[in-house]
Amino acid sequence: MRLDFSPQEETFRREAATWLEGQLSGPFADLRTGRAHDISAPERRKEWERALGRARWSAIGWPEEYGGRNATLAEQVIFAEEYARARAPGRLGHLGIELCGPTILALGTEAQKRRFLPKMSAGEEYWCQGYSEPNAGSDLSNVRTRARLEKGPNGPEWVIEGQKTWTSLAQFADWCFLVTRTEEGSTGARGLSYLLVPMHQKGVTIRPIRQMTGEAEFNETFFDGARTAAENVVGAPGEGWKVAMATLSFERGASTLAQQMGFRNQLDAIIGAAKDNGAARDPLIRQRLAEAYAGLKIMRASSLRMLTSAQSGKLSPEAFTYKIFWATWHRKLGELAMDVLGPAGELGTAAPYELQELTKMFLFSRADTIYAGTNQVQRNIIAERALGLPKEPRGGA
C-alpha cells in the first residue's frame, strides 16, 4: 500500500499537464471554467472534445485501436487530477466515454466496437442514457418502453415505443443507449434489452424538464416508432438487465476523481466566501468546513481503494458505499455554502431567476441523493448485496 508515483508516472503527469496548459491557455482559454455541470456553448465544447480525441487524451484507458492509450490505472488517476487541476471544462462526451463505451468494450461485438468506439473517443458522436422512466425511477426493472423487431428497408430493425426521463445531454446527443422491454409479457428484470438508438430521426422527441434551479439540464425523451438496426443490441436480446447493471458499475471509475476535483473547486469557493465575510471565524462554520474537507479527502482515498481493487479484479466493499457517501456529502456542502453566504446567498444575480453559482449548487445537490439510485435504494443495495441481509418482500404488482 503506497500513495506515491513512480518516475515514469511523474513523466506522464508532466506530459499531460503540459498539453492541457497549452490548450487551455491557448486555443481553448475560453473554456477554462472548472465547472462540472455546464451545458453552455455546446458547439465550442464539441471542438474541445475533438481536440482531446486528436491528441488521444479523450479515453486514455481504452485500447489504442479505439482511440485510447492503454493507460494504466495510475495514469488514469494522474490524468483525472491534472484535467481538474487545469480547470478544464466538463466533458460533453462523458456519458459515452464513461458509461456506454466501457459497456461496449466489455460486452459488445467486435463490429460494435469498431463502429462506435472510435467516433466516441474522437468527439464525433455524442451519447445520452435512456434508463429512467416516469414509473421506473428507483425501480429500473419496471421499465415499460418496449421494442419489437420489424422488417426494415435494409434488414430487420427494432421499433421503439415509450418514454424516458432525466435524459441529460439528450439535446446534444447523436445516440442513446437505452434499456427497453423486448419480450412481450415479460416483467421485472427479464425480457429487457440494451439498445443503441440514433437520436436524429423522426420518432424521437426531446422535451426539456425545468428544475428547481430554473434551468433545464435534463429532458424527457419520447420514442414514437423510433428505429435502430437489429444488430445494435449490446449483449443478447433479453439480457439487457445484466448489461445495464454492468454500466452502473462503470460509474465508479477514474471519473470519480474528476468529480472530486469539481467538488474541491466548490469547497474552495465556499472557503473563499467564508474568509471574505468573516464566517471563517465562526467555530461552528469551521467545524463544518473541516468536516467537508475531511470528507473530500476520504472520497479520494476511497476512490483509490476502489480503483486499485478493480484493477486486481476484486470487488471492494467501499465501492458499495461510494455513491451515497458523495451524494450525501455534496448535499451537506450545499447547505454549508448557504450558511456561509448568509442572507446574501439568497439573492439572485439577474431577473427573472438567475441565481449565484453556489446557490444553484445548493439546489442542484438535492438531486444527488435521488438520481442513480436514491439514498434509500443505495442503502438497500448495501444491506442486501454487501451485508447479505434478507431481501425486502416485494409487492405482488
Partner: protein, 383 residues
C-alpha cells in the same frame, strides 16, 4: 390553564382553511409569484377587506379585531401550509407590531388604522447589506442637524418592500451601537429620495427589496415614540414577528408532511406503494415528530406573547430556531421522498424547500437564536 384552541380559535382556523383551499391552490400561488408584484391582489383584498385579518391582533381602538397572537399564529400557520404569497407577513407581523410598540397613541391610530382596514400595505426596513440579524444589522443612519433630520443608507432584504405603501425604517444615529441611538421612522413609500428595487430572491413566494435612502428628509412626527424607547420596542416587535414566522413555518412543515404522505400512499415502486416501505414510513414519521414539536414551540410562544407570563425572549428564540429546523427538514424530505419529480420546477416541493430555506434565514438563523438562548440561560459570553 387550557393549552388547546378555543372554539372561537377553531372557527378562525376553519375559515382560514376554507380561504386558502381556494386562494392557496398551487396554480394560484404559481401564477401570483410570477407577476411583478409577486402576489394576487384579489386574494389580498379578500384577506384584508372581507376577512378582516390584517387587524386580527390589533386593538379595537385602531380598528382591529382585538384578538391576539394565538389567532395570528393560526392564520400564519394556514398561510404557511400552502406557501401563500402575500404582504400579510410584512404588513401585519413585521411593520404593525413595530408601530404598535414604538409609536405614540396618535401615531398608532394614524398608521395602524389603514393597516387594520386593509388600505395600507407596510414593510419593515431593518437590515443592511451585511445581513446581520437584529439591531446590529441596521444599515440606515438618521442624521440630525438642528430640527431637520435626514435618512441616509440602505436596507436590503426588505420583505415585500416593493409592494409597501408605508415603510417603517429602522435607523441609527451616526456611530451608535447596540440599543443606543436606534430610531424607527414611518416613511410613505413615495417619499422623495426613496429608491425601491425589487430583488431576485431564492424564495419567489416572498419577494424582497433593497431600499436606498438618499438624504430623505424626515419630520419629527415621523419618528415613532420616544427615541430612547425605540430599541426596546423594535426588539419586542421582532420577537412577535419571529413567533408569527415560526407559526408560518409550522404550517409549511405540516403542508410538506401532508403532501408527501399522500404521495407515498399512491406512488408505486417495486410493486408496492412506497409508503409501505419503512425507509419512507420512518422518514415521514420523523417529519411528523419535527412538525409536532414545532407546533408545541410555536403555540407556546404565541400563548406567552398573549398572557405575559414567562419569558417572551426565550420563547421566541426557541420557536424560531425549532420551527426553522423542522420546516427545513420536512421540506428537504419532501424533495427527497418525491424522487425525481420533487426536483422539478413543476412540482410544489421546490416552493416549500425554498421557503423553508429563506424563512430559516429571515429574522435570524437557528444558530443565531440558539446562541441568544444560551445567553438567556445564563451561560455568559462565548469565548
Amino acid at each position: 390553564m387550557q393549552f388547546a384552541f378555543t372554539e372561537e380559535q377553531d372557527l378562525i382556523r376553519e375559515a382560514a382553511q376554507t380561504f386558502f383551499r381556494e386562494h392557496g391552490a398551487s396554480q394560484r400561488v404559481r401564477a401570483a409569484m410570477e407577476t411583478p408584484l409577486g402576489y394576487d391582489e384579489g386574494s389580498w383584498a379578500t384577506m384584508v377587506r372581507e376577512m378582516g385579518w390584517a387587524g386580527i391582533a390589533l386593538p379595537e381602538s385602531v380598528g382591529g379585531t382585538g384578538l391576539g397572537n394565538v389567532e395570528l399564529a393560526i392564520l400564519q400557520e394556514e398561510a404557511g401550509r400552502c406557501v401563500q404569497p402575500s404582504p400579510f407577513f410584512s404588513t401585519v407581523c413585521l411593520a404593525a407590531p413595530a408601530i404598535r410598540h414604538a409609536g405614540t397613541p396618535a401615531q398608532q391610530e394614524s398608521l395602524l388604522g389603514p393597516i387594520a382596514t386593509g388600505e395600507a400595505r407596510a414593510a419593515l426596513a431593518l437590515t443592511g447589506a451585511g445581513g446581520a440579524p437584529g439591531l446590529e444589522g441596521i444599515g440606515v443612519t438618521l442624521e440630525r442637524s438642528g430640527r431637520k433630520s435626514r435618512l441616509v443608507g440602505e436596507a436590503s432584504y426588505v420583505v415585500h418592500g416593493h409592494a409597501a405603501d408605508l415603510l417603517v425604517v429602522a435607523a441609527r444615529s451616526p456611530g451608535s451601537r447596540g440599543a443606543e441611538g436606534v430610531s424607527l421612522i414611518a416613511l410613505p413609500a413615495g417619499t422623495k429620495g426613496v429608491r425601491i428595487e425589487k430583488l431576485v430572491a431564492l424564495d419567489l413566494t416572498r419577494p424582497m427589496a433593497r431600499i436606498r435612502l438618499e438624504n430623505v428628509e424626515v419630520t419629527t412626527t415621523q419618528i415613532l415614540g420616544e427615541p430612547e424607547a425605540a430599541a426596546a420596542a423594535l426588539t419586542q416587535a421582532l420577537r412577535l414577528a419571529q413567533i408569527a414566522l415560526a407559526a408560518e413555518q409550522t404550517g409549511g412543515a405540516q403542508g410538506a408532511l401532508e403532501t408527501t404522505t399522500a404521495y407515498a400512499k399512491q406512488r408505486v415502486q417495486f410493486g408496492r406503494a412506497i409508503g409501505s416501505f419503512q425507509a419512507i414510513k420512518h422518514r415521514l414519521a420523523d417529519m411528523m415528530i419535527a412538525a409536532e414539536a414545532a407546533k408545541s414551540a410555536a403555540y407556546y410562544a404565541a400563548c406567552i406573547a398573549d398572557t405575559a407570563i414567562g419569558e417572551l425572549a426565550e420563547a421566541a428564540a426557541i420557536a424560531k430556531s425549532r420551527c426553522s429546523d423542522a420546516f427545513f427538514d420536512c421540506a428537504a424530505n419532501m424533495v427527497q421522498l418525491h424522487g425525481g419529480i420533487g426536483f422539478t420546477w413543476e412540482h410544489d416541493a421546490q416552493l416549500y424547500f425554498k421557503r423553508a430555506r429563506a424563512s430559516s434565514t429571515l429574522l435570524g438563523t437557528p444558530q443565531y437564536h440558539r446562541e441568544l438562548l444560551a445567553q438567556l440561560m445564563g451561560l455568559g459570553a462565548a469565548s
